[in-house]
Amino acid sequence: MVPPAGPGVFTVKPSGPGAFKLVVTGHTFTSRADIEKFLAYRAARHTIEQGGTWFTLNEDRGKDGTVVPVPARDPDGPRYSFRMKYFRPVWRYKTNGSTTWTRWSPFSGEPFISADPKTISDFEVSAEIVVRKGPMDDADPLAFEAWALSDLLVNQVSPPK
C-alpha cells in the first residue's frame, strides 16, 4: 500500500543496543505532518521487521530542546497504543542557495520552519527509536505499539521526493 521510497530517502542505522537512528530525506517539502507520518510509519515497520512489537522514541533535545517539557508518565491515567502528538522528530533543512543546514527542534518552542516551504531545497527528519518486545509499557508517553501505528498510517503515507 505504501510505494517504495527512492534511493536514500529512508535510512536506518544501529545506534546502540536495540536502538536505531532513522532518517528521512527529501527535496520537495509537502507538509510537516506528511513527512513525520512517513517517518513514524517506517519506525513501526522497522520495529516489526526487527521482531519487536513496540518502540520507544528517544527524544533528541540537544541544546535547544529545553523549552517544551518532557512528557511525564502517568501510570494511573489512560493508557494508549500510541500518541501521535509525542512522535516529535527533529528537522534540519536547507533553503535555495544555502550550503549549510538549519536545525529545527520541536522542543525549542520556536514555530515550525519559518522559511517559505517553496524555498526548501533539502530537508532531513530524524528520530532515534529503541525496539522492544513483550508487553508494552503503555503508560510511557513515548511508547508506540508498532502494529497499531502501522495500521493507522499504512493508507496515509508515501515517501517524500
Binding site: M1, A33, I48, P75, D76, G77, P78, R79, Y80, S81, F82, R83, M84, P135, M136, D138, E145, W147, A148, D151, L152, V154, N155, Q156
Partner: protein
Amino acid sequence: MIKRALTASCIAVMAASCTQAAAPWVRGYVVAFYDPAFRYGGRADYSRGTEIEPGVDCPHGSTVHFAVPAQVAKSLSLVSWRTPQEVEALANPPATGLDRNPAGVYFHTWRAASAYRGYNRDIETYINPFAAEDPGQPQVTSRIGEGFNLDGKIKANDFVSPDGEKGIDNQLYRAWGCDAPWRGADGNGTLVLRSNDKMLEGLYTVVIRISGNKDPMNDDDATLEIGYSPDQIMKDARGNVGVDYSYRIINSEQYSKLKAKIKDGVVETEQADIHMPQIAWFFNQQRDAFFRHGKIRVVPNSDGTAAGLVGGYRNWRDVYTQNIFAQSGGTQGVREHEDHVSLYYALRRHADGMFNAKTGRYDGISSVYRMKLVPVFVVDPDKPMGIPARDSDTQGQRKAFDDTAAAMIKAVDTLVPQEVPPTSRELTAVDGVEIGRGGVALPGRGRRGYGGNRTASSSELPVNQVSPPK
C-alpha cells in the same frame, strides 16, 4: 427428588464427611446472573456527585468518554481534518434560544461526530477503528483478578486470584475493567444491569447440567454441559430466580459438553473449546461466546446455589462486535460513556492468545465471566431443536448485526476502510436523527428501528444548526 435432596444436603455440609453410594447422579443450574469477571475496587466511603468512585482497580475511576464537553473536545481534537473551531462547536453545541432538549442536542451531536474520526472525513469510525487515533483508555492497575491460569505460565501482566493462585489470565479485565458500563459494585454497571435484566425477562437463558456415576461431591469422571435453553427464566413470588423449575438444554451451536472433575464439591472442567450464549441485551447480538482453550468452575454454596466461572480465549473481534453493534457505536458511546476506538486499541494491545502465525499477531484475549447459579432441573427436549427465532429476526436485525460485524472484521483484517453496510444500525435514525458522512447529524429522517433515548420530536431538535462551521 430424593437424590436431589440428598445431594443438596451433601453440599450444605460439604465440609463435613458426607458420602453417598456410587450411583448415577445429575444436578442442574440456571444462570441467574452473568457478567464479566471484573473485580471492582471502589471505596465505599467515596462520593463525588454521580461518578463511580475510583478504587484499587481503576485509580482514576471509570471512563468518562463523551460525558462532558471537555472530554469530547479532547477526543475530537485527535481528528486531523477538524479545525479547533469545529471541535469547540461540536463539544459545546450552541444554544440558539429555540425550544429543545439540551440533552438531545448533546446526544445527537456527539454521537454523530464520534462516528467519523478517521484520517479522512468519509471513514466511519466504528467499522474502521484502526483508522482513528487512540483516545486512550484507563485500565486496571491492580493485581487481583478472577479466572484461570489458561497457559500454565506466570507472567508479569497476569493476575493473582482472590485465593492466591498466580498466573491468572484475564486480560479482558485489564483492558476493559475501567469501562464505565461494565464497572461497579455488585454488578451494578449499567450494561451489567441491562443485560441481566434482559436475560431475566426472557431474552435468553443459560443452563448447566453436571452428571456423574460416583459421589457428587468427589467424582473424577463427571460431565458438565452448558448451553442455551429455549425456556424463559422463571421467578418466585419475590421476583428472585425460582428454584427447581425445569429447563430444556438444546444441543445447538451454543452448547458444550466437557469432562469434569469434582473435588469436595467443586467442579472443574477439562480445558477445551467452549460454546455457550454470550452476554446480550438485544436479541440481534445473542450469539455463541466461543472460548478457546476454556475452562469452567462451579463452586457450590451452602444454600444450594453455586458460583460459576467460565474463562478462555475469545476472539477480540467477537468481543468488540458484541459490545457495539447491537445498536450503533455512537449511541452506545455517548449513552454509556465508553469509546469503542479506545476499547479496540485496548483489546488489541492486551490480546494474549490464539497467536496467528500468518499475521504475527494475537487474535484472542483471555476473558473470564462470572455466573450466579440457581439449582433447577435440566432436561433434554422431547425432540432435537435449534435456537428459536424471535420477532426481531424478521425485521432483519440479526442480519444488520452480521453485516456490520463482517464489514468491521474485513476492515481491520485488510486495512481497507469499509463502507457502512446499508442494513447497518450505524445508519439507523434515532429520534429521527441520522448520521451523515463526516459526522453530521441529519434531523428530520424517518424513524427506523430503535427509538430509545427519545427526548424530543425531530421538529424540536434543529440539530442541523449545531453542525460544524464550514
